[in-house]
Symmetry: none
Subunit: 130 residues, 4 copies
């Protein structure tokens, strides 16, 4: 995941967020789960910063869309409590999506600032631009 | 959000808390989510300190009353798990209210020490004094 | 340490800061080291928030002015390393002063935003108003 | 500090880093110390992520270049120990620079990945592009 890749991913995500009309924070992490690039669109709420970065982290840490992780992380589910692990870096709601080269996860994108569906759609648009 | 503004907001909130007969901690944050002023009324429990400050932070971070955020943050809800983000600074029960200038959020108030309804009423009274 | 006491202490400290012409954050803690009241004067830097609160905490935690603790906390000193304890809440430079009733420490004040000498002078002015 | 501003600042800083031949992480924060944009250039070390973000935070929190804060934060200096405050977010070596509009600090930039002089030069180049 080069910075050029990350910028292309963010540009696509940003375009989607603009189409939706919902400003967001967007973060891209590499294979190691470490941040490569981040933008907070004008008007995105402050809380979206930490959450977008950690959605990207989570999607790479578990190689799963955070929307799907949510299902496992509810009370009674097999991973209930996982949101308290990793010093609070695990986000268990929609908006984090792994980025793949073929079948191999090479990074992830996280989007935050809208509803779960909006965040996921924006992250997905970014992931597809890789 | 000047200190003078924050003091006026706190005075109104404090008056409401006295009417209710429930001592509280009351905090006001600015546009950046940073603390401007804080008081702990005599008799307010120690746990209300951190919670009032972080309710103000949360209400500004997400531009939403924490009472409303609570609905989204329950198990099965779209933001379940958000309380573990931001190093534990996100409070997902009533008592945090954004402060607006027209339609723009310029800060927030957090109240803690009573029931959820009491805390919200006190925060609301403060917000209206801006 | 009632809220009324804390407000009187803060008013005196604030007056001193205005005389000096240096906006500050000012915090008062009680016997338990827990925050009673806090103000950030307009123009005080954001970093002064955490530091003033924790100067008050430190001055009560060790019943010593943080200016004096500084001497013990230097490399080679008997308490070198203490600043890393308490999760980073121990501040080892001037601006925290215990508040006494006779010989008994009943709280503390912390001031931050200026030079060490300025911060100490403001905290001292507050402490003397108790 | 809009995203457009932050991107212009980062572009100038990145160009400087390329001239120097030293890949870096570069972060821009707004008036409230909150992250607006971040890039990690290809080849910048992983440790530069946290440090660049927190250099930007520090430069805004104290309205000072972190290179200058360093002088005050050495053993025996008036702010020795400050690096342990704010949960470890205060960075006391070169590479963080406040961004001003006239005399008012409206944000900050942090650069990390090279020597102190290199980091400062890159941050300075970014700040001047505002």
């Amino acid at each position: 995941m080069t910075l050029k890749d990350a910028r292309r991913i963010i540009a696509a995500a940003e375009e989607k967020a603009e189409q939706i009309g919902q400003p967001m924070s967007i973060a891209v992490a590499d294979e190691g789960g470490n941040l490569v690039a981040f933008v907070r669109m004008d008007g995105a709420c402050l809380g979206s910063i930490d959450i977008s970065i950690n959605k990207a982290y989570t999607a790479r840490a578990f190689d799963i869309a955070t929307r799907d992780l949510a299902a496992y992380a509810q009370p009674g589910g097999p991973f209930f409590g996982i949101h308290a692990s990793h010093g609070g870096r695990v986000i268990i709601f929609a908006g984090g999506v792994p980025i793949k080269k073929g079948n191999v996860v090479v990074g992830a994108i996280g989007a935050s600032g809208g509803s779960g569906d909006q965040d996921h759609a924006v992250a997905e648009a970014g992931a597809q631009a890789f």
